[in-house]
Amino acid sequence: MGTMTAPPSSAYKIVDIAEPYLDLIRRKGQEGTYVGSSEAESPWVPFGDNAAIRHLAFDVRQNVYCNVLWIKSPGVIGTHKHRGPVWAVGLEGSFRYLEYDWVCRPGDFITETPGTAHTLVTDDPNGMKALFWMQGANEFYDADGNHVETLDVWWFMNHYESYCREHGLTPNPQLYL
C-alpha cells in the first residue's frame, strides 16, 4: 500500500477541505493560540533571583502547562519529582540533570516520565533557556528531602496572574487553552 512520501500539495493557497462539522467546530471548538515572543504577549516572571518563567499555555482540563524556563547564569533548580509526562526542547545555553549523563543544548529534545525525580543544573556561563510542555503534578523538595509544595497548572497560572496583577498587566487570553 502506497504512503505519502512528500506533502501532497505545494499550492500556495488555502485549499477548501470538505468538513461536514464546520458549523459545529466554529460554534463549540476551541481556536488554537498564538503567543509571540514579545514580553507584551507574555512577560518573564521571576522564579527566584536567578531564574524566570515565560508562560505560554494553560489547559485546566488536562492539567497541562507550557512555558520557557530561563536560568540566567550557572545555577540549580532543586530536586523535583514528576507525576506526569514532560517534553522539552533546549533553546539557549545548556542544562543537564545530576541524575543523567546527557547535556541538553539548543535544538536538543528530552522527555521526562511519571515517577522520575531529578535535579536541574546549568553550568553554562549564560545559563539556559528551554521550552517545557508538562502535564500533571510536579513535586518540589528542599535540600533535606522534605516535600515543600506540589506544583501543577494552578501554581503556574497563579505565578503568571500574580505577576500580571502586581504590574498592572492584563492576562493574555491566548495563554488559556
Binding site: P20, L24, K28, D59, V60, R61, M157, L177
Partner: protein, 178 residues
Amino acid sequence: MTVMEAPPSTKAEIVDVPFAHREIVARLSPGGRYIDAQSDVDSPWVPFGDNAAIKHLAFDVRQGIFSNILWIKGPGVIGTHLHRGTIMMVCLEGSVKYLEYDWVASPGGLILEVPGESHTLVTDHPNGVKLFGWMQGPIEFYDDQANFVETTDVWWFINHYETYCKANGIPLNPKLYI
C-alpha cells in the same frame, strides 16, 4: 518510609484541605460534574443504526476526547475500524469480543485499545452489550470491502448528539461539554 495502607480518614465530613490556588480553580476550572446514565434526563439514547444506540456522556474539544455508552441491543457487529488514539472501555452489561482477539469481555472488565489497532467488534450475547468508553482521537471506519468510509472523532460524536436533540426537541445539556 511509611506508605498509606488505608484511607487516612473515614469521617463522613468535609475536611478543609489546604490548597493555595482555590480562587483560580473556582474562576477557571470547568468543574467536575455528574452525568446520570440510568435515565435519559441528562443524555438520551441516540440510535446508531437499527441495532445500536449511543448515550453521549462527555466531549472535550481541546483534547479530542469523547465519552459515551455504546449499547448493542442484540447479537451484532460494529464493522472493522482503525484507532488513531487511545480508548478505555468498561463492559457494563452482556458481553463483547473482537474477531481479532481471543478474549471475551464481561461486565466489569476493562478494555484498552491503542493507536494503530484496527478491529471488528462483535457481541454474540442474546442481550447484546453495553460498553462505557472514554476515548481520544479519530476512529476510521471501513466497509466490508475495506473501503474507507469516514473518520469519526469528537466532532462526529457531538454532531450525532446534537442532531438527534434538534430533531427531537431535546435541549442540549451543557454538562456534556467539558
